[in-house]
Amino acid sequence: MDLDFSAAEEEFRRQARAWLAAHVPDRPLPSLETEEGFAAHRAWEGELAADRWSVVSWPEEYGGRAVGIVEWLLFEEEYYAAGAPGRVSQNGISLLAPTLFDHGTTEQRARVLPPMARGEVIWAQAWSEPESGSDLASLRSTARRVRGGWLLNGQKTWSSRAAFADRAFGLFRSDPEADRPHRGLTYLMFPLDAEGVTVRPIGRLDGKPAFAELFLDDVFVPDEDVIGEPGQGWRIAMSTTGDERGLTLRSPGRFLATADRLLRAWHAHGDPADTALRDRVADAVLGARAYQLFTWANASRFAAGEPVGAESSLNKVFWSEHDIAVHETALDLLGTEASDWTEGYVFALAGPIYAGTNEIQRDIIAERLLGLPKGRR
């Protein structure tokens, strides 16, 4: 058992640090949930990609460096420690790309991944519907077979980044006669500017259009944009959400950097006699360290060929609640001087809700990890 990195890993870390030191903008970009900020973040993705830093773990042919999970985690630590911008391509990179690697065709990978890596095509997700949230398998938007492809109809909602994104991916009911709700679903990709698509941005808590409703009216999708076999969408999507909750959506690097920021704020502004607040600062620091070490343990398990499955639900509950607690602590510490933390706070508040609510995650933990009996929810 050790936490020592190889010379090659340390060299990779050093290169990442040097590149970031030379390229990270001096001033933060405008919020990526605004039109101006979205464009600035898209341009930043292009700058990352030009030197092969946007998707380091992907194969070289798609714009990556073909490094393993350890290097990816080291890159993430360096990235957030350097104060680099949020990743506007996150949904595509951490949700769609793993699905294409596992279930896509060579043609799809060659067509979709390089523009994703360069930030030329930004992806939004289209899972939830007005009547289908945690019970996603009840979804009602349809994909109807037509010559050469499919016609999409229905409504999707809470589609993150869709206000400004280029394309979306999600699940549609292709076989209404299937015997169970999670059968007969198909995984499709479609352009957000296609004929028949209406995007209605939704203001999140602070009013910024961080997500959108999508109205689909006879939207044609060619066969080449179906991922995997028609009717197999549920199984394919579940492998994606496993990745999302697991290692790829929220790496420890961002929480280490945030805890470090809070610690600096405490040393600069904190009242040493306020031990209640000091204890919460300590929790921010040790929580980030716990998440980092938990992730190194999981990365080691991946490397040893052990599967990581329902454990990703532990992960999601932990980081989402940790993130809110850290931001609450910063707001309490800084009071009226906390403007640098408010956007992060609003973002953190969504954590326990998206990517599978924490209630669903706790059901998964109880049933799959503790072996408790299924019951009515």
Partner: protein, 337 residues
């Protein structure tokens, strides 16, 4: 980077788990609480045979250490089985004497280590910062008091007093006695002892927490109300899911602290040990609160074995300094890096 126990370390855990299961440790803990030490001392000898007390001592003194990772592995099992006796204190004392020898004061190690390392006797220990009461001062063969530039053998102890955990009996060490070391070496050895006590207590807490969780999961699967197992109710499931989250995120801190302690970077180890101590202690305490609630009135009885772990979780949270003390170290240490 391979932050996983290796096959040998896992086998060590399994063999301790098997040995302690066969030793009927709950009965030994109850006897210990009643002042009857023979069954507990039999368990102690088995721990000694398994090599648990060799882990903090160097080969020179018949040890195999220092092996903090293996120590954490062992103390998770000590906690899981509610083993009575001053196991943490003995390991911390072994660490202290070994460190003194390394710093040029070998006499106490030569004299005291062989019996401790072999499991022939136990030790208890107080440090100035963590209070004058020593665990099991009436059974320990070596009574050590360290701090304020001194390490001394206490000449005895005052009356034994109960703690919340009846198997943890505390005695105040008497002043005076033979001074074994003084000055910087004594202070450095005392700090090293506190590191090992924190690590072993954190690991023990983790084991206590897992025992409480496992017993409660088994109970709510079997207990039926309204015609179904109570473990099928979401309120019950979510409470236990939260306990697992707490324990599973405490575990890497405990083993991370062990790796840091082995690495020798003192400032990094200090923060990691503090993080482990506070997190494991609180995770076990959360597990205890959930276990009591979900067992209902049955859990509130002394007769039911759950009580052995419930009360120990509470005591371990405060042993060797409470959560506030250790959180203060996290903030101070992390700030100075």
């Amino acid at each position: 980077m391979r932050f996983l126990l290796d096959d040998e370390q896992r086998a060590f855990a399994r063999s301790l788990d098997g040995m302690l299961t066969a030793a009927d440790t709950p009965a030994a803990a109850r006897a210990w609480a009643a002042g009857e030490h023979a069954p507990g001392l039999a368990v102690w000898r088995r721990l000694g045979e398994a090599g648990v007390f060799t882990l903090a001592a160097p080969e020179e003194y018949e040890g195999v250490g220092p092996l903090p990772v293996e120590t954490a592995v062992a103390f998770v099992e000590v906690g899981r089985h509610a083993v009575p006796g001053p196991a943490v204190e003995t390991v911390a004392t072994v660490a202290l004497l070994s460190r003194l020898a390394e710093l040029g004061v070998p006499e106490p190690a030569k004299r005291l280590l062989p019996a401790l390392v072999g499991g022939g006797t136990s030790a208890t220990l107080t440090l100035t910062d963590t209070g004058p009461h020593a665990l099991d001062a009436d059974t320990a063969g070596v009574l050590l008091a360290a701090g304020d530039g001194q390490v001394r053998l206490a000449p005895g102890h005052a009356d034994i007093q109960a703690s919340l955990d009846p198997a943890r009996r505390l005695g105040r060490l008497l002043p005076d006695g033979e001074v074994l070391a003084s000055g910087d070496a004594a202070d450095a050895a005392a700090r090293w002892a506190l590191d090992w006590a924190a690590l072993a207590t954190a690991a023990q807490s983790l084991g206590v927490g897992y025992a409480l969780l496992d017993r409660t999961v088994a109970y709510v699967k079997g207990r039926t109300q309204f015609g179904v197992p109570v473990g099928s109710f979401q309120a019950v499931k979510h409470r236990l899911a939260d306990v697992l989250v707490r324990l599973e995120f405490a575990r890497p801190l405990v083993f991370g602290a062990a790796v840091s302690l082995r690495g020798g970077d003192r400032s990094a180890a200090e923060v990691d040990l503090a993080a482990a101590k506070v997190t494991a202690g609180e995770a076990a305490h959360d597990a205890a609160r959930a276990a009591l609630q979900l067992h209902g009135a049955l859990g509130y009885t002394a007769e039911y074995d759950l009580s052995l772990w419930l009360l120990k979780a509470r005591e371990l949270r405060g042993a060797w300094g409470g959560p506030g003390t250790w959180r203060g170290r996290v903030v101070r240490g992390a700030g100075s890096v």
